[in-house]
């Protein structure tokens, strides 16, 4: 069973704070993703990584950065949190797309509130 874990289920931060969200997967997946989920907007991709130290911007990368120093770990960083970054953050992982097994496995999510 693939397991994707996220460091926190709920987080409350103040405007201007630096926020780290951690994601770890245990299935040796090449691809990892960070999404945010907001009502009526579905899942929007922030960043993804297809290999260690590699990253690509998704649809809404502004205000975020990422780090992938090890294959199993993908971190999302909010350099200076703002209230419009209050959201549910979902991490996912998948095998390399040419594998034919492109299922994305999601973590439980982190609900972030920025005051």
């Amino acid at each position: 069973d693939v397991k994707v874990t996220q460091s926190s289920r709920y987080l409350v931060k103040r405007t201007g704070e630096k926020v780290f969200l951690e994601c770890v997967q245990d299935m040796d997946h090449e691809n990892m993703f960070w999404y945010r989920q907001d009502p009526g907007l579905g899942l929007r991709l922030i960043y993804f990584s297809y290999d260690v130290k590699m990253k690509e911007k998704g649809d809404i990368p502004e205000g975020y950065s990422v780090s992938r120093e090890k294959k199993e770990r993908f971190s999302l960083i909010l350099e200076s949190a703002s209230t419009n970054q209050t959201s549910m953050y979902l991490c996912a992982s998948s095998l390399f797309f040419r594998s034919g097994q492109e299922t994305q496995y999601f973590g439980p999510g982190t609900r972030l509130l920025v005051l």
């Binding site: 090449e30 991709l45 297809y50 390399f96 492109e102 299922t103 994305q104 999601f106 439980p108």
Partner: protein, 111 residues
């Protein structure tokens, strides 16, 4: 940019009624996946369609991929309260592992 539109956004049905959600892409997709998210949960993979015109069934759920590979649908026959949740389609266009998700359809089932 590439977009995947999903309708309707919400659907309320009486238990036993059928339900359909539709997905349309602005570009041709390599494949399409469907996910279900239960209330308070995270998206869970249901199925992947790859071939033009493909139809797959999982018990009461029927998934279709359009001939032009730009649209898809999920049909649930005789809904049950366990079907409650948000259903997302997600398409891959191009040669990366990146998926474009639709906005989701939230299904409520009245017992």
């Amino acid at each position: 940019g590439q977009q995947v539109m999903q309708i309707p956004q919400y659907q309320h049905v009486q238990e036993g009624e059928d339900f359909t959600t539709y997905c349309n892409s602005s570009t041709t997709l390599s494949n399409i996946q469907w996910y279900k998210q239960r209330p308070g949960g995270h998206p869970v993979f249901l199925i992947q369609l790859v071939k033009s015109g493909e139809v797959k069934k999982q018990k009461r759920l029927t998934f279709q991929f359009g001939e032009a590979k730009k649209n898809s649908s999920l049909h649930i026959t005789a809904t049950q309260t366990t079907d409650v949740g948000t259903y997302f389609c997600a398409g891959r266009a191009g040669n990366t592992g990146k998926l474009i998700f639709g906005q989701g359809t939230t299904l409520q089932v009245k017992p």
